[in-house]
């Protein structure tokens, strides 16, 4: 199971409590995780990546294993520790604005 940490405002929006556990088919990548997350919680469509371009929203970042993976290509396999469920995939809102 993949462990995903969603920012607090999106947890409220999608009525998620705590960590999200996801089954992901095939290679574990940013795209496959986000596809699975949006399938489980359709309300999150458009909140993490643009609905048309599928680009990550500018003020969100992806972290795992202590690394910023935001600029990795969406189909690049994520670290094995994420794929095995040992480490969480973090979706983090930038510290910006008021």
């Amino acid at each position: 199971m993949i462990h995903v940490i969603v920012p607090p405002h999106l947890r409220t929006l999608a009525q998620i409590s705590g960590e999200v556990l996801l089954e992901v088919e095939g290679p574990v990548t940013q795209r496959s995780i986000l596809d699975a997350l949006e399938t489980r919680y359709p309300t999150l469509r458009g909140t993490i990546r643009d609905q048309v371009s599928q680009q990550r929203r500018a003020l969100l970042r992806f972290f795992a294993c202590g690394r910023d993976l935001s600029h990795e290509l969406p189909d690049t396999p994520l670290p094995d520790a994420v794929a095995s469920g040992g480490e969480s995939f973090w979706i983090v809102g930038a510290i910006a604005g008021g």
Partner: protein, 371 residues
């Protein structure tokens, strides 16, 4: 007993303020969607318990929320706003072409006859419509297809479609306004549009007959006389007696004719309200005195209304969607400020009381009159 429900959108959430017909004691509910910008909420005229809200965030983008119980509970509905066809370009601040990019919904206007049909005014400027209660949104692209789109440009707040007026006497006629493009009208239900800006003068536009480019801040009409429109422009308060074909200035004796809001008394079509703001670079009331100005003559002659409003050291703004009137026998008038106050008058503006004083900056105010 009848009452009112005031729907307040703020920079950090939505609030629902309710009172009985006396409009003296208020119940405050909220924040709903705490931490999110709520540009606008509005209820369906045919089903007042059906309310739509525009919820947005710089981090997470746009959401549309719908309530079926008068704002007590909410559910997210569709949030996919995609421009029809090739989005094209408009002018950027420096005059260069800039691609159209969806940012947020500024204004939601429910249909006068169908609770599942709603119009949405977007930034970058476009008009969308849902006919299934907000699940799916489609652009009425004849507006951007008018041909003048490449000349539209953003105002300081962005290139927003902020005003949508549905003509109660003609279901095919809709008025909209965009900062900074101007006012437009359709007479065929949204297929074709034309600019209605003749008579507007804007210092920053060299061509005195410019078809578009005007920074219209707000338009208002009285439902019994939809051919008469009042406009608060960047500068100038304007009036049209022919559904926008021609405009003339009615700023008259206002202390300044800059401002954002304009509205019309529910029962008196010639009674109009504005809140003068000092200037385009000083977004606060002149002399630090918060005053609503009322004209009972359809413009030109204005009287200040200040009883109950701060008359010293007040430097708040009143944004374009932040004034509304109710339909009680004695017309109630409401407005919200960037300082977080929502003021109400239960006597057409003669005196005012704050309903709340310390909300986040108020972006929009709507009111429902409940039977």
């Amino acid at each position: 007993m009848s009452g009112v429900r005031v729907l307040v959108g703020t920079r950090k959430g939505a609030f629902v303020l309710t009172s009985d017909g006396k409009r003296e004691k208020w119940n405050v509910s909220g924040p709903h969607f705490g931490g999110w910008e709520i540009y606008h909420l509005k209820g369906s005229p045919v089903d007042p318990n059906r309310i739509y809200a525009s919820q947005s965030s710089g981090w997470f983008g746009q959401q549309i929320q719908r309530s079926n119980d008068g704002g007590q509970t909410w559910e997210p509905v569709g949030n996919k706003f995609v421009y029809d066809g090739i989005a094209g370009t408009h002018q950027w601040y420096d005059g260069t072409p800039h691609p159209w990019e969806f940012k947020r919904v500024w204004h939601l206007e429910p249909s006068l006859t169908d609770p599942d049909t709603v119009y949405a005014g977007a930034e970058d400027a476009a008009l969308f419509r849902t006919t299934d209660g907000g699940q799916n949104w489609h652009e009425l692209s004849g507006l951007r297809g008018h041909g003048s789109g490449p000349k539209w440009q953003p105002g300081a707040g962005g290139m927003c479609l902020h005003t949508i007026l549905l003509d109660p006497s003609n279901p095919n006629r809709i008025f909209i306004a965009i900062s900074a493009a101007g006012a437009f009208r359709t007479d065929d239900g949204g297929l074709n549009w034309r600019p209605i800006n003749k008579g507007l003068k804007s210092e920053f536009i060299p061509d005195p007959n410019a078809e578009v480019g005007h920074c219209v801040h707000r338009i208002a009409m009285h439902k019994s006389r939809p051919g008469v429109l009042f406009m608060q422009k960047h500068w100038d308060v304007m009036r049209s007696d022919d559904a926008g074909d021609n405009w003339h200035e009615v700023s008259g004796n206002l202390p300044t004719d800059f401002g954002f809001v304009v509205d019309v008394h529910t029962h008196e079509p010639e009674t109009v309200y504005v809140v003068p703001i000092k200037s385009d670079s000083e977004h606060y009331p002149p002399e630090g005195k918060l005053r609503v100005y009322r004209s009972r003559t359809g413009g030109n002659e204005w009287e200040p209304l200040s009883k109950g409003l701060p008359q010293s050291d007040c430097y708040v703004n009143v944004l374009r969607d932040a004034m509304a009137v109710d339909s009680m026998d004695e017309c109630g008038v409401y407005f919200g400020t960037t300082g977080g106050q929502v003021y109400a008058s239960a006597n057409a503006g003669d005196s005012w009381n704050p309903i709340v004083r310390d909300l986040p900056a108020v972006v929009s105010v709507e009111v429902q009159t409940l039977s």
